[in-house]
């Protein structure tokens, strides 16, 4: 599903990481950890085509990210749900409209949309905030809305960057359950987080692998987690 082939990335100076080869198979569940500033967000951006590797190759759905035009990237994004670390929304639209935005952009608004949306809002606990505008949300509410937006298109891949950084333990368990459920439906899930307890909780529910980014490379973290 997502393959990195000797990929490297540099923001101009030294390479942040180099020579990374990875293969995330369809239906797999991965965590990405590492200290702040190690390059977790950067690696995720490579995986959904927001950045292109400075060396090597990244393939998503068997397509070389580096060879795609802007319109192709747009089409790829419709199959990849992304939760950004700083969850950005269209501030002039309601929460519900923001969550439904990927459907609108893809021209896929259908009769079932409203029900799906209602169910999803309940899942992330935002039913009472559906008509609010994003600037009126609390930090945790924004993260939940971003997750809802990422999954509404039922994408093949879900990529989330610190999706539980601002929510309490209970809520993080609930969000994890949503991601686990998506994984059970066959979606590929990739989550960057520094929350070790979240990883432990996940491991109890699915076969999750933990990738650790450090020293310009990625290692598979052992069973110690």
């Amino acid at each position: 599903m997502i393959e990195l082939d000797r990929a490297a990335y540099s923001y101009g100076g030294d390479a942040l990481f180099a020579d990374i080869s990875l293969n995330l198979t369809p239906g797999s569940f991965h965590f990405l950890t590492g200290p702040s500033g190690a390059g977790k967000t950067t690696l995720l951006k490579l995986c959904y085509g927001a950045l292109q590797p400075t060396e090597g190759q990244v393939r998503v759905f068997d397509e070389d990210i580096g060879a795609l035009g802007r319109d192709d990237v747009a089409l790829l994004r419709r199959r990849v749900g992304v939760v950004h670390q700083d969850c950005d929304f269209l501030d002039h639209l309601s929460v519900a409209d923001n969550i439904a935005l990927p459907l609108g952009v893809a021209g896929k608004v259908s009769s079932g949309t409203k029900d799906d949306l209602t169910e999803l809002l309940a899942w992330v606990g935002l039913t009472h905030r559906r008509d609010a505008h994003p600037p009126e949300l609390s930090g945790g509410e924004r993260q939940r809305a971003a997750l809802a937006r990422a999954v509404i298109m039922s994408p093949d891949i879900v990529i989330a960057d610190e999706p539980t950084g601002n929510v309490d333990w209970e809520m993080s368990q609930r969000l994890l359950k949503l991601l686990v459920e998506l994984n059970r439906m066959g979606k590929t899930v990739l989550i960057a987080t520094h929350d070790l307890s979240l990883i432990r909780a996940a491991k109890a529910q699915v076969q999750a692998r933990v990738l650790r980014i450090a020293n310009r490379g990625v290692q598979l973290a052992g069973a110690d987690l």
């Binding site: 747009a74 089409l75 952009v105």
Partner: protein
């Protein structure tokens, strides 16, 4: 993205795509105001052009093309000299027609001097011949030489030397009018481009969000193009209507103060300013489209 599909989507009311860009109050007002102001001024520039054009045409046709030949001689000799002069004029290249004025016409011209009761035949009044030039005009120096030889006392009063600079000035004024209208069009293009760029730059975050959820460049550009085109159309329509109204309110041309008060449109000329809003919209469409394409490439 093809121009054609951009144009068609402009006409469809594609509410969804337009909604995703936040309504940007001040850039909107700025664009509308600019379009209105420019359209208002453009209407005046056009009125100036057309009035000057009419003036140039009038002077060019009626006056610049006519000259007067005066035959100053004792009454008895006048008929013979007039006949000779007419013969010379008829054989001169560039003279369309020549005609001796009759007594009544001459009397009318002299009335301010001698009143209407004077018998002209008692005065040594010269015979006047009206000469209308054709095409490129005649060679007045050559004509003068020939007249001097055969018609002593003939004075060629070439109005052209008086009128030519006036006609030239009117033509220049017409050019000033058209150039102003062109400059105003360019100003609209420049301002809409700047406003569209400002709007695109201010909405960089919005564009990033839209990209994140899989929006294509065309989808994003559409909203901006549609907006700025409609704003330019609306603003320019308002400015044009106001401009036409004010031009209409200007005092009508009279014989006496013809030029100064004649600034306006006549008959079908009123249709010309109506093209201003359409041109403004077209300019805005192209300007926004280019700005959006460039900016979206830049933000990629």
């Amino acid at each position: 993205m093809s121009v054609f599909s951009d144009l068609t989507s402009l006409l469809r009311s594609d509410a969804q795509s337009v909604q995703v860009v936040p309504p940007s109050g001040f850039t909107a007002q700025l664009t509308i105001f600019t379009a209105a102001a420019m359209a208002f001024l453009a209407v005046f520039a056009l009125a100036l052009s057309m009035a000057s054009g009419r003036l140039a045409t009038t002077w060019g046709d009626e006056l610049a093309r006519s000259s007067t030949l005066r035959i100053i001689a004792p009454q008895a000799e006048q008929p013979a000299l007039t006949a000779t002069a007419m013969r010379i004029l008829e054989s001169t290249a560039g003279v369309a027609s020549a005609r001796p004025l009759d007594a009544a016409e001459q009397q009318a011209l002299l009335a301010p001097w001698f009143g209407t009761g004077v018998d002209l035949s008692t005065l040594p009044v010269p015979q006047l011949i009206e000469v209308i030039e054709a095409g490129t005009g005649f060679d007045s120096a050559g004509l003068r030489l020939r007249l001097e030889a055969e018609v002593p006392g003939a004075v060629l009063d070439d109005h052209r030397q008086w009128r030519a600079p006036l006609v030239a000035a009117a033509n220049r004024l017409r050019t000033v009018g058209w150039v102003s209208a062109l400059l105003l069009g360019l100003s609209v293009a420049a301002m809409v481009t700047l406003a569209a760029n400002a709007s695109l730059a201010a909405n960089a975050r919005v564009i990033a969000v839209l990209r994140l959820v899989g929006a294509t460049d065309r989808y994003i550009a559409q909203a901006f193009i549609r907006r700025f085109t409609l704003r330019a159309l609306g603003g320019a329509a308002g400015g044009t209507v106001l401009g036409m109204f004010v031009v209409r309110m200007l005092p009508a041309a009279t014989d006496r103060a013809g030029f100064l008060t004649g600034l306006g449109f006549q008959g079908s000329e009123w249709l010309v300013p109506l093209t201003v809003p359409l041109l403004a919209a077209a300019v805005a469409f192209v300007a926004t489209r280019l700005a959006a394409q460039r900016k979206l490439r830049e933000l990629a």
